[in-house]
């Protein structure tokens, strides 16, 4: 089966410092891939490159058949970063409607309702993002990632600063997404919530895949 996402010899330098060195891997459709490593190993940098939020200094990345950074690759990718990417002065619904416009979704309201329902965030859709608890904010951010129905989901520390109940809820959402055929690449220092869900593990060490 052709990979959904492929990295070939991806390197990233910040000045003279190499954060990623010739990283190569592929993620199959419907695969849940765990990306591990210590702090500073390059996990976030790699996810940002896959999301198109950062350029690789060398190497090639493709999502589907599209090169990273292209509109097609961006439409195929959902990225949950350390920040929610939601403006605190706007309600969750307003934030999602804004992203629906950026992704040029045909029926924005229906897409927003569907994404909110998928993560169980309808209850606080009318609240401003700045007033939400960490757990609510994480769910809203996940709804933003799923809004345009991506094929590849990139999750950077999705369980950070969440209580047990919310971690458990997110785990269930993640299971449903994987069962629905979404490819997921996830980094997390908390590995327990991912037990039984992960198809394959990759380990980064000082910018190299072990």
């Amino acid at each position: 089966m052709a990979p959904l996402c492929a990295c070939q010899n991806v390197s990233r330098f910040f000045g003279e410092r190499a954060v990623l060195r010739q990283v190569s891997f592929a993620c199959a459709p419907g695969e849940l891939l765990y990306l591990g490593g210590a702090n500073g190993a390059g996990k976030t940098t790699l996810l940002r490159i896959l999301a198109g939020a950062l350029r690789a200094t060398a190497g090639a990345v493709t999502v589907g058949e599209a090169a990273i950074g292209s509109a097609a690759a961006r439409r195929a990718t959902g990225y949950l970063s350390h920040q929610s990417l939601l403006h605190p002065a706007l309600t969750v619904e307003e934030n999602l409607e804004f992203y629906a416009a950026l992704f040029d979704l045909a029926d924005a309201r229906a897409a927003v309702r569907s994404a909110l329902a998928r993560v169980g965030a309808q209850g606080f859709a009318q609240r401003r993002a700045g007033e939400l608890s960490q757990g609510m904010k994480q769910k809203a951010a996940l709804a933003r990632c799923l809004l345009h129905r991506p094929r590849l989901l990139l999750l950077d520390e999705p369980f950070a600063s969440l209580d047990r109940a919310t971690v458990s809820e997110l785990r269930e959402i993640l299971r449903e997404l994987r069962d629905a055929g979404l490819s997921v690449i996830v980094t997390s220092h908390q590995t327990e919530p991912l037990e039984g869900l992960v198809d394959r593990r990759l380990e980064l060490e000082q910018g190299r895949l072990r």
């Binding site: 999301a51 198109g52 939020a53 950062l54 350029r55 950074g69 509109a71 097609a72 961006r74 439409r75 990718t77 990225y79 970063s81 920040q83 929610s84 990417l85 939601l86 403006h87 605190p88 002065a89 706007l90 307003e94 804004f98 992203y99 416009a101 950026l102 992704f103 040029d104 933003r144």
Partner: protein, 224 residues
């Protein structure tokens, strides 16, 4: 159609955020009012000087107040972490830039709607003042500031001294437009001279820098 929808979405969102926080509007209004009050007191003894310097004072107030709005446009995206959301979306950089330009234009024009009547009071504007002409110059001049300012604000995102860089780059590039704004305003304020030349200069400037800003948007909004 899609680019227009993106630009409209960015514009609507930024105006909505500003309407809720009023951060930039209050700072701009306060700064502009301060300039008008200080200069009106300084010139109060000389009615003729007040009239001759009026156009310059008005645009000094608008220019420096506008810097507040222009700096905040993209700085707010960076501070709130939402810039990444714009950059990782499939929306074209030119459409995002157009939306940001639109919201800056509305914000600065909104401040001018309050500022112009105050200017008339503080500077004892003559009864023969052509307010329609003044409004036209204000619109074209504000367009020039917003077009350049939005572009340079995006460009300064990649620098450490963002607040310092924007006026340093924006003001010299805007000199032809500033000259036209001041002279055009002066013509409509005093009724002396012809404004056509200055209006044509402003229109040409607006067209050139709006097109340049959109054409180069991809370069300044690209990820690092």
């Amino acid at each position: 159609m899609s680019a227009r929808a993106t630009a409209w979405a960015v514009l609507r969102r930024d105006v909505r955020i500003e309407a809720r926080s009023r951060e930039a509007l209050l700072a701009m209004g306060f700064y502009a009012l301060l300039v008008l009050v200080v200069f009106s007191f300084a010139f109060s003894a000389d009615a003729d000087l007040t009239l001759r310097a009026g156009g310059g004072v008005l645009w000094v107030a608008i220019l420096f107040a506008a810097l507040v709005a222009l700096d905040r446009g993209f700085a707010r995206e960076a501070a709130e972490g939402t810039l990444s959301g714009l950059q990782t979306s499939p929306a074209s950089a030119a459409a995002i830039m157009a939306g940001k330009f639109g919201s800056n234009l509305i914000l600065i024009l909104g401040m001018e709607v309050i500022l112009l009547p105050l200017f008339a009071v503080f500077f004892n504007a003559p009864s023969g003042t052509n307010w329609g002409g003044m409004a036209l110059v204000a619109f074209l001049g504000t367009w020039a500031l917003a077009a350049n300012g939005t572009y340079f604000s995006a460009m300064s995102l990649h620098t450490r001294q963002r607040g310092l860089l924007l006026p340093l780059v924006l003001l010299p590039v805007s000199i032809p437009a500033i000259l036209a704004m001041v002279q055009g305003t002066q013509v409509y304020l005093t009724g002396e001279g012809m404004a056509n030349y200055w209006l044509r200069l402003l229109i040409g400037y607006d067209v050139i820098f709006s097109v340049l800003g959109l054409a180069l948007a991809e370069a300044v909004l690209a990820v690092e």
